[in-house]
Amino acid sequence: MSWMVWTVPTAIFFSTIGAMLAGMTVWEVVSPSIERKGFLPISTTRGDRLFIGLLSAAYIHLAVVGFTDISIWFALAASILWLLVLMRWG
């Protein structure tokens, strides 16, 4: 395993993703998701919205890190906020 050169932040990152997937699975078993249409142009399920949220979060982070001097924590906060908005109204 040492060749994988784990660090604490990346370990936290992957655990979070793993926990999210596990949580979504449990949620799906408890109350199955129904496809619906929110402010996004396509009708989506819960999982779709999570994926869109995560993907746009990645791009938000890249934009902040690459082209501005704003701290990455603001990007994180913005992404979480966006993810919540997307999950609720997307």
Partner: protein, 294 residues
């Protein structure tokens, strides 16, 4: 098809999942780990945070490679899609000619990618290549190692040679699935050839064309071996595409951190594009089934 809801299906998926996870998720995690560190070996490494991402996003060489990549991908799509459709319309439908043409057209797809590079190197060299010598005889000082325009044109021609068959075969299979009754109806209505193409053939082709465009876009984004063998990315860096920049950095210079950060950016671009295409395909199929049901 009405699918049954059954979570036991996961047992059928499981062996595949383990295998693909082994070759996809573990390496991906490692790339993420690399990207936030300066790695010398497993014991000597420093945490660098987002530094590599910042450097890579602002690296002019890579930005140029990315732009070139997009220019290349869109150029070949613009040539290959219409050409492929045209060839598919020309291909014989039955008989031994159909088989023969199919086999001949498929040939370029089955040649190892570096051999494709070699074939075109042999074909375009100014001293021994048929095309190279031919163009020089016509009076144009064709030289792919000196003139970037020649190198570009040759690489695009090579890619057209290599991959148009894929589009042609996709479209051919789409055309084959149109029932003869449609054509008969068009004949009775005295529809023009253009009308037949526009209202019968093209709608049937959109399905396969989206797959074709998706595959071609993705593969053109990974192009490595052919230009590497043919031009070595030159002259200068005029034909260095993303994959080659990445490989040079990762293998040639052993810069694990930066190349990992770059890989992730590369991967995110691919992910976004393929998601857009996938959603488009899925929505199209949904529309089709809706229409079929109505």
């Amino acid at each position: 098809m009405n699918k049954v809801y059954n979570n036991k299906a996961w047992f059928l998926i499981l062996p595949m999942l383990l295998l693909v996870a082994f070759s996809a998720i573990i390496p991906l995690m490692t790339v993420v780990n690399y990207s936030v560190q300066d790695v010398f070996d497993a014991n000597t490494r420093f945490f660098t945070g987002t530094e590599w991402f910042e450097t890579m996003l602002n690296n002019p060489t890579l930005q140029a490679a990315l732009l070139r990549q997009f220019a290349f991908s869109f150029t070949i799509l613009a040539i290959q899609i219409p050409l492929g459709i045209g060839i598919a319309l020309l291909m014989p439908k039955r008989g031994w000619q159909a088989s023969a043409v199919l086999i001949l057209i498929t040939l370029p797809l089955l040649i190892p990618w570096n051999v494709v590079g070699s074939i075109w190197q042999l074909f375009t060299r100014g001293d021994i290549g048929l095309m190279g010598v031919g163009i020089r005889e016509l009076g144009y000082a064709y030289n792919i190692t000196r003139n970037p325009a020649d190198a570009w044109a040759t690489i695009i021609l090579m890619d057209v040679w290599h991959w148009t068959p894929l589009i042609a075969l996709l479209c051919y299979s789409g055309l084959r699935s149109i029932p003869d009754a449609y054509y008969q109806a068009a004949r009775i209505d005295r529809a023009s050839k253009w009308a037949v193409f526009r209202y019968i053939q093209l709608p049937k082709l959109t399905n396969v064309l989206v797959i074709g465009i998706l595959l071609r876009f993705m593969h053109s984004f990974m192009i490595y071996a052919e230009p590497f063998v043919l031009t070595g990315g030159g002259p200068g860096s005029s034909t260095t595409f993303l994959s080659q920049s990445l490989t040079t950095m990762a293998i040639g210079q052993q810069d694990l951190g930066p190349s990992a950060a770059f890989s992730l950016i590369y991967f995110l671009i691919i992910l976004l594009v393929s998601w857009v295409f996938y959603t488009a395909i899925m929505n199209m199929q949904k529309d089709n089934t809706n229409q079929g049901g109505a």
